[in-house]
Symmetry: C2
Subunit: 196 residues, 2 copies
C-alpha cells in the first residue's frame, strides 16, 4: 500500500505550481524530454490506446513555424520557452492496438465507428496531456499550457499527410515569477462535487 | 526552482501505479474525498474554467443506481470499490467565469458558441480527470478509470435537469494485487514523440 506524498511534493505538483508566462533562459535537454515521456507513457488510457502524440518544438526553426499560428501574447511565450509541446490526437490510434492491448486482439474493432474513435482519441490524449503536466512538475519543470492557437493551421503546418489533430500546446521549462497572474479562485467543494 | 521528486514518488505516481480491478474492503472517508478535491481543483484549466463536476458514488444506494448502467465486469468493480467518481463536463461552465476568471470579465463571451463551449468543457474537464488520477495516487490511493458505461443512461439517472454530461468514471480506494493485468507495452519514444 502506498502512503501520501509529503507536503513539499503536493505543493510542487498542485498547490504551489503555477502556469508560467515568462520563461528563464535555461534549456531543457533531449534527455529531459525522454525522461518526461518515459513517465507520461505509463499513465492509464482506455484499452491502453495511448492516442497522444507529442511534438516537442525546441529548435529556433521549429519555433518560428509555430509562432505565427498562436494567439497574440502566446507567440512571445513560444519563442521564449525552451520547449513547447504540441499534444495531438492520433485518429488512427486503433491501428496500434494489436501491439498495445495484447489481452484482446479484437480491441481494434471497438473503435471502427469514427465517432467512437474520435471521442476516444480526444478523451485519452487529453488525459495523457494532463499526465504530461503532472510529469513535468514531478521532474521539477514548470508548465504553461495554452489553448490559444489556430488548430487547423497547426495541423496543416505540422501534421500534413497524417491523421493527427492538435489538441493543446504546453510550454515547458523553468518559469520566472515575473508575469504570473494572481492565483484565481477555485470552486468550493459543494459547487463542483457531491458525495452520494 | 523545483527539483525532481524522488524515485519512490515517481514510482507511486507513474511507473508502478496500476489500474485496479479488485478492491480491498477498506473505506475512503469523506475527509479523504475533500482532500482529494482540494488538490484536483488547483490544476490548470483554460481561463481557469474548471468545467469538471465530480460525483462521488459512495453509499450502497448510490452504487445500486450506477451498477446497472456500467458494462459487464465493471459492475462488480463499482459495487466493490469504496468510491467511484463520475467525472462530468458542465456545459454551463462559462456561467461561473466572472467568479473564476476575474482578470477579464469578458471571458464568459469567449464560450458563447456552443461548439466552442462543448470542446472546451471536454478538454478541460478531461484534464481535471487526469489531475484526479494523479492526485489520488499522490495521496496513496489507487485508481480504476473506466469508459465502459452507458453515458446517456448515467446522465439521465444522475444529471436530469442539469447540463452535465458524463465523461468517464474512476473507482478510487485501495487496490488488491489480484486481478491486475500484466503491464501492457507502451509506445517507444519515436513512435509517439518527436523533437523538432
Amino acid at each position: 500500500m502506498s502512503i501520501s506524498l509529503n507536503d513539499q511534493a503536493l505543493d510542487q505538483l498542485f498547490r504551489e505550481a503555477r502556469s508560467i508566462n515568462v520563461w528563464e533562459d535555461k534549456p531543457v535537454s533531449d534527455e529531459q524530454i525522454q525522461a518526461l515521456y518515459d513517465l507520461v507513457k505509463m499513465g492509464p488510457t482506455s484499452a491502453n490506446c495511448c492516442p497522444a502524440r507529442f511534438h516537442f518544438v525546441k529548435s529556433d526553426a521549429a519555433k518560428a513555424r509555430l509562432k505565427p499560428l498562436v494567439m497574440e501574447g502566446n507567440d512571445t511565450k513560444v519563442m521564449q520557452a525552451p520547449v513547447t509541446v504540441i499534444i495531438a490526437n492520433d485518429m488512427d490510434f486503433a491501428e496500434k492496438l494489436p501491439q498495445l492491448f495484447p489481452h484482446n486482439l479484437d480491441a481494434k474493432s471497438w473503435f471502427a465507428d469514427p465517432a467512437v474513435a474520435e471521442e476516444t482519441a480526444m478523451r485519452n490524449a487529453t488525459l495523457q496531456g494532463g499526465y504530461l503536466i503532472m510529469a513535468a512538475r514531478s521532474l521539477g519543470l514548470d508548465c504553461g499550457p495554452m489553448s490559444g492557437f489556430d488548430k487547423d493551421a497547426v495541423d496543416a503546418e505540422f501534421f500534413a499527410g497524417t491523421n493527427l489533430k492538435s489538441n493543446f500546446i504546453c510550454s515547458i521549462g523553468y518559469g520566472s515569477s515575473e508575469g504570473i497572474f494572481d492565483r484565481s479562485p477555485r470552486l468550493a467543494f459543494d459547487d463542483a462535487a457531491k458525495i452520494l
